[in-house]
Every structure is written in C-alpha cells, then in structure tokens.
C-alpha cells in the first residue's frame, strides 16, 4: 500500500503528517519533495546508501553536424539553438526525450549523462526511509521523483509529496493506491485543496482530508467536505504546544499528549483509504 500525502497549498503540514503517520503506522517513508526535502530533519535516519540521479543530454559531433536545423525544429522544449552554424544546447531545458537524435540524418548526435540530484536511503525505528535531493539550480525534479518511486519494494509506504499540483505531484500520484490531503482552515488552504482534489480524482483512488491547525469549528474546510461528500480523516488542533515540539525538530508522535492524535489519524486513514 502506497499512500501519498499532498496538499495543494504549501506549509499546511505534509511533512508533519507524513513523518508521524509513518511512525504510527510503521510504514516506510519516502520524501518526494526533492526541492526541499525536510522529513529527515525529524526522522533522523542513519543514511546507508547515496545514489546519483542522472539524466541524458545530447552532444553534437561538430564534424558530422551540417547545421540543418532539423533537431532545433523538433525540440519541443526549445533547448537547442543555432549560432554561427553550430548547434548549441541549453542543458537545463532539455528533457532528454531523444527526439533530436531520432530526427538527425547525419548521425551527429550522441547522448551523455549528467547528475541532477541524489537519492539517500536509510533506516530509523524499524522503518525504511528514502529521499530525493535535487541539486541546486536544477529546474527539473521529475527524473529524481521517478527514480525514487520506480523500484520501491513490497510493503507500506507513506509518500511525502511536493507542494502544489504540478508535474512533480502528478508523477508521484502515478505510484500510489490512496491519498491524504492535508489542508488548513484558511481561504488559501481551501482554494488549493480544491485543485488538489481535482487532481486526485483523476487517479480514481480513495482519498481523505486531514485538517491541520484546526479550530474545531464548522469551518470552511468542513463545509466544503460536507458539500462535496469528501471524507475527513481527522484534524490536528491549532496548538502552541504542537508548534513548540515541531520547531525543535522533535517527533510529535513521541510526545505523550500529542501521540493519541496521530494514533487516531492512523486508524482513520486505514479505514478511509481501505488499507488491507
């Protein structure tokens, strides 16, 4: 069972929910927020393995290239340009699709590889943890996310998604059986939640909502869920105590007063997401 934790709006508590639910459910943890992976700050696993993530990019053989421009025309990402009868590459725009190599009649293009990020794997408290790290300055996160999720073995995984609803999130959802949407009772929280709900519905997987920083009232999130017939998994109260534990980098699940909240969320998640 792979469960994605996403939100739409950033800063609603995806990592808080993911890390604590991973511990409560004894599920493995994967941090797919590769632009700013912060789950390991809380879980503090011992890193056992670091792998490179490589992408392919074209290299022009200037002796064979006749600057016919066919590769420039076929490139959907405008990664190629001709200057002074030489084709040059803007490597950060290249998606490594291979179209330029296929179209080239002069066999002037070969593919090389370069590193865009890393994957770290380790253990903590009997759960397996992994995370992707996109190198600074790299714009494309999807290859790192794909490598993280392609070869996951049998078992249960909590997958901490990137914020938003862009390609990075869509690619993560391709690998999951259920989703938890974390939001907060604010206008922005609701606005972005609606977009996230639309994305998750496209995958036809069971999903439910966790309301973070909850005021306990019949707020805009509860009203929306009732109207749209979306299941609420539960809520995390708006509390100074929770913020204090979090700000120290401690695990909320270790705190005797907060632990029951996550125990309850874990059980309800199993119910709503039809785990087992």
């Amino acid at each position: 069972m792979n469960i994605a934790v996403l939100s739409g709006k950033g800063g609603t508590g995806k990592t808080t929910v993911s890390t604590n639910l991973a511990l409560a459910l004894q599920a493995n943890y994967i941090d797919c927020d590769v632009e700013e992976p912060n789950g390991f700050l809380f879980l503090k696993p011992s890193i056992e393995k670091t792998e490179q993530v490589m992408v392919e990019y074209p290299v022009m053989d200037d002796k064979k290239c006749v600057a016919c421009r066919e590769c420039i025309k076929v490139c959907q990402f405008h990664a190629l340009a001709k200057v002074k009868d030489k084709v040059i590459l803007f490597e950060k725009l290249c998606h490594g699709c291979g179209a330029c190599k296929i179209i080239c009649k002069y066999d002037a293009i070969i593919y090389n590889q370069r590193e865009i990020g890393k994957i770290e794997t380790g253990q903590t408290r009997n759960i397996h943890c992994s995370r992707g790290i996109l190198n600074i300055g790299e714009p494309m996160a999807v290859p790192v996310i794909k490598k993280l999720l392609q070869n996951i073995s049998e078992g249960n995984y909590i997958i901490d998604c990137p914020p938003g609803t862009s390609c990075n999130v869509v690619n993560t959802l391709r690998y999951v059986d259920g989703a938890i949407l974390v939001t907060e009772p604010s206008e922005f929280g609701l606005h972005d939640l609606k977009i996230a709900v639309e994305v998750v519905k496209m995958f036809q997987i069971p999903f439910g909502i966790i309301i973070n920083k909850d005021d306990g009232k019949d707020n805009i999130i509860r009203q929306y869920c009732k109207k749209e017939n979306i299941q609420i998994i539960g809520a995390i109260p708006y509390s100074k105590e929770i913020a204090q534990v979090y700000s120290k980098g401690d695990i909320l699940y270790d705190h005797f007063k907060i632990k029951p909240i996550f125990k309850k969320l874990a059980n309800r998640s199993k119910e709503v997401l039809q785990w087992n």
Partner: protein, 121 residues
C-alpha cells in the same frame, strides 16, 4: 541592415514590447531593401525556452540589430554569440524607436536581465 524590434502590434504606431521572449510580434526593418517584415513570435506561448525560440527566429532572419526592453540570460547568450547587437529602449511607438536608434540615442544591452521561468516542467 536588418533591425528587429519587439512589439505589441503590427503597425508603425504600435509600441515596443519590453519583453523579448514573450512579445507578440517582431517588426523587422530592412534598411537596404526598404522593406518591413512582421514576424509573429513563436516562442510567446511556449511553456519554457521562450527567449531561445524567439532568438532562433531572429537568427534565421539574419538580423543585425535587436531593439527590446530586456534580454533574459539564454537569449542574451545566443544573441551575443551570434554577434547581433542589442539595444535597450522604453515602450514607445516604433517610429520613435527607429528615430532614437538612427540618432544613436539607444543604450546597448551588455548584460542580461533576470531569468523568467515559464511553466512547470
């Protein structure tokens, strides 16, 4: 000589578009042939690499001079490598842009403006 100006419209009273990669049109003034070419900017609607797409079009047209508001880093790199001169101008009518250029009143662009990233990939 061919002078390309990023513009918001197709006429001589249209104004200069401050954006290079995402401008609506390029008006190319061929001073030797006494012709004006109106080019639709193909890069305008692309999710990324707009500046490169726009540069590719102008390099194909073999222009000698570009007048625009700002050039992003990728477009700047291409245009500098191709040896095309680029000049900075405000958003004024194309007639006045040409007048200022002919009077040598325009400042040459020697560094790129900030990068804009289009859509997500």
């Amino acid at each position: 000589m061919k002078i390309a100006i990023s513009t918001t419209g197709k006429n001589s009273d249209s104004v200069l578009d401050m954006r290079f990669g995402r401008c609506e049109y390029f008006q190319i003034y061929d001073t030797k042939a006494g012709k004006i070419i109106i080019l639709e900017n193909k890069g305008r609607l692309s999710s990324g690499g707009a500046g490169i797409a726009a540069s590719n079009q102008l390099i194909d047209e073999k222009v000698d001079v570009i007048i625009t508001g700002n050039l992003g880093p990728n477009a700047f790199e291409l245009i500098a490598a191709e040896g095309i001169k680029a000049y900075k101008c405000k958003s004024i009518a194309i007639n006045s842009v040409l007048e200022k250029y002919n009077n040598g009143e325009l400042e040459e662009i020697t560094i790129s403006g900030p990068a804009h990233h289009g859509g997500h990939n």
